[in-house]
């Protein structure tokens, strides 16, 4: 049966307050979610899944709503119809399996636990980002590619804490920056900009 008819029928049944309630954040903006999906979920229908394919050709199945809520790229793909539920998988060639699994964990946790109190969420996030420098780099690249705003902000905050309070050569070591690219004159200029006293 045409999904369109079902949707219109369900929309007609919904009270206004439920329609108004159906807003979700996508990529930092609030977007109205199709209330009929919520109702279908409430009625116990199986939630739609989508397939994501890592660079190592491993397939991950994840709830569509979870990824659509967090990733602007995936949301755009679903909305403009370029993704066909029955056949396709979304290829993510620049994200390896380990990182993709972590990204999916992040999005899933934040969708299902968004009503938890702030402290618990922050503790979970801190645990989630307890990774080495390589892992953080991969997560940052993946979050940037998929345009997951809140994960990006979280990672920026972590990087900020890695920089704060450290000496310059320590920062270069952490981020494995081998060549700083300054001339001796520029380095001297940098020194002068720093607070110094006699």
């Amino acid at each position: 049966m045409e999904l369109l008819c079902i949707r219109q029928w369900i929309s007609g049944l919904l009270p206004t307050w439920l329609s108004a309630w159906c807003i979700k954040p996508v990529g930092g903006a609030l977007v109205r979610q199709e209330p009929e999906y919520i109702l279908l979920a409430l009625m116990g229908s199986p939630l739609k899944k989508i397939m994501l394919c890592s660079s190592e050709k491993e397939i991950f199945s994840v709830e569509e709503q979870v990824m659509v809520q967090h990733s602007v790229i995936i949301n755009n793909m679903i909305e403009d119809g370029s993704y066909n539920h029955e056949e396709s998988k979304i290829p993510l060639d620049c994200v390896d399996s380990k990182t993709l699994k972590k990204v999916i964990d992040y999005c899933t946790h934040h969708t299902h636990h968004h009503n938890d109190n702030q402290e618990d969420l922050e503790a979970w996030d801190a645990q989630f980002l307890n990774v080495d420098s390589n892992g953080l780099y991969d997560l940052l690249m993946a979050a940037n590619y998929l345009e997951i705003r809140n994960l990006l902000d979280l990672i920026y905050g972590t990087i900020k804490n890695m920089i704060k309070g450290k000496k310059i050569d320590e920062i270069r070591r952490i981020f494995n920056i081998k060549d700083h690219g300054f001339t001796p004159e520029e380095e001297e200029q940098n020194r002068k900009e720093y607070p110094h006293f006699y």
Partner: protein, 378 residues
């Protein structure tokens, strides 16, 4: 299969500005720009119109003359490994703890100077012949907070007991900044950048003791300890806490670990009434004790705080702050450091005793290198 450590310079170049803009403190921005050429070119050193000090603003009392708002920054210098520091390195701490310095910025072109974090007095180098340059670039430095002083020229003496200024970030233009002060006689003044004179808030009342910036807003406390929020748009006070009814003589606001505390100072004798042209501190008054209160924001009630644990509160001359004593040399936890007349004193919440400390914790002894100190007897 072990992967080689990734080279972060392969990160897409458009991400560095976003990371750089997360850093708010000026010293963090400087540090970011000193790491490598890519990072340096990704962000400017500051907003072209960010606040710069000293700043000329109208005098709070006589708006026809200009006063100078100066800024000082409190830094926490963290210890480094023994291999980095050496006995001759003047700022290398002797233990694994870090320490506190307060740096006051002089007028343009003049070097910065060290002042005591508690008393605000300038720290003099014992030898003028061989000045050593200490560049903060060589140390692990964290900015703790900023404090402000209003210095004036002419015959009007310093007429404010406390002034605060917000926002003071590298990324915000000064036109958005607001200064808030408590006058010596207890009135509250506000000035937005660009105003020609200070405006009084709640001008009928003369009993404000302290002002602080907390979570980006101005909060004041009156002589009873009740905290109000200052609405800078309407210039009105909105009561933020239930009445405290602290019976001490002077209230101080301290922020510690994200919460607001009121520290109530009890003098032994009733101090003289504050004077319009008066002195900053009550010279006759000696402190008897302190009581500390914390606002329980969930229940909206005051909690009597008997123990500060590892934290030490410092009631400095121009700003109040708290530190973790186990990370710093010279400070003890569960204590309040303050000035009383000209002395530096420490109140312990354990046994309610007060001792006069003969040096600014961790400053005088560690600042000057051993060899230089011994070589130049005073």
């Amino acid at each position: 299969m072990d992967r080689e450590k990734v080279d972060w310079s392969e990160l897409p170049i458009e991400l560095w500005p976003k990371i750089g803009k997360c850093l708010e403190n000026h010293i963090d921005v400087l540090r970011f720009r000193s790491v490598c050429e890519t990072w340096r070119s990704s962000i400017p050193s500051s907003h072209p119109n960010s606040p710069s000090f000293p700043m000329k603003i109208p005098h709070p009392i006589n708006s026809s003359i200009k006063a100078s708002l100066t800024q000082a920054t409190l830094y926490l210098i963290e210890s480094t490994d023994a291999s980095f520091g050496s006995k001759l390195d003047p700022l290398a701490p002797s233990s694994s703890k870090g320490w506190l310095i307060k740096v006051e910025e002089g007028p343009k072109g003049v070097s910065l100077r060290l002042v005591s974090p508690i008393s605000g007095r300038k720290i003099f180098h014992p030898s003028e012949d061989s000045p050593m340059i200490w560049n903060l670039l060589n140390y692990r430095v964290i900015e703790l907070c900023k404090s402000y002083t209003l210095q004036n020229t002419g015959r009007f003496s310093a007429s404010v007991s406390k002034v605060v200024f917000f926002p003071n970030s590298s990324w915000v233009g000064v036109e958005d900044s607001v200064a808030c002060c408590v006058f010596l006689e207890g009135r509250l003044g506000i000035m937005k950048h660009g105003d020609e004179k200070w405006a009084l808030v709640d001008d009928k009342n003369f009993y404000y003791d302290d002002v602080i910036v907390h979570r980006g807003q101005f909060y004041v406390t009156d002589k009873w300890g009740t905290i109000s929020w200052v609405d800078t748009n309407s210039l009105k006070l909105i009561q933020f806490t239930p009445p405290l009814c602290g019976f001490g003589n002077k209230k101080h606001l301290v922020e510690s670990c994200g919460s607001l505390y009121v520290v109530d100072r009890y003098y032994e004798t009733e101090p003289r009434r504050r004077n319009y042209f008066g002195r900053q501190e009550n010279r006759d008054a000696a402190v008897e004790c302190f009581k500390v209160y914390k606002l329980d924001e969930d229940w909206g009630t005051w909690v009597d705080v008997k123990k500060l644990g590892d934290r030490a509160f410092i009631l400095g001359r121009n700003c109040n702050f708290s530190v973790s004593a186990k990370e710093l040399t010279g400070y003890q936890g569960n204590c309040i450091y303050f000035t009383d007349m000209f002395d530096l004193r420490m109140y312990s919440l354990d046994d309610h005793s007060i001792v006069t400390i003969d040096f600014d914790p961790s400053i005088e002894k560690n600042m000057m290198p051993q060899t230089a100190w011994l070589g130049h007897t005073i």
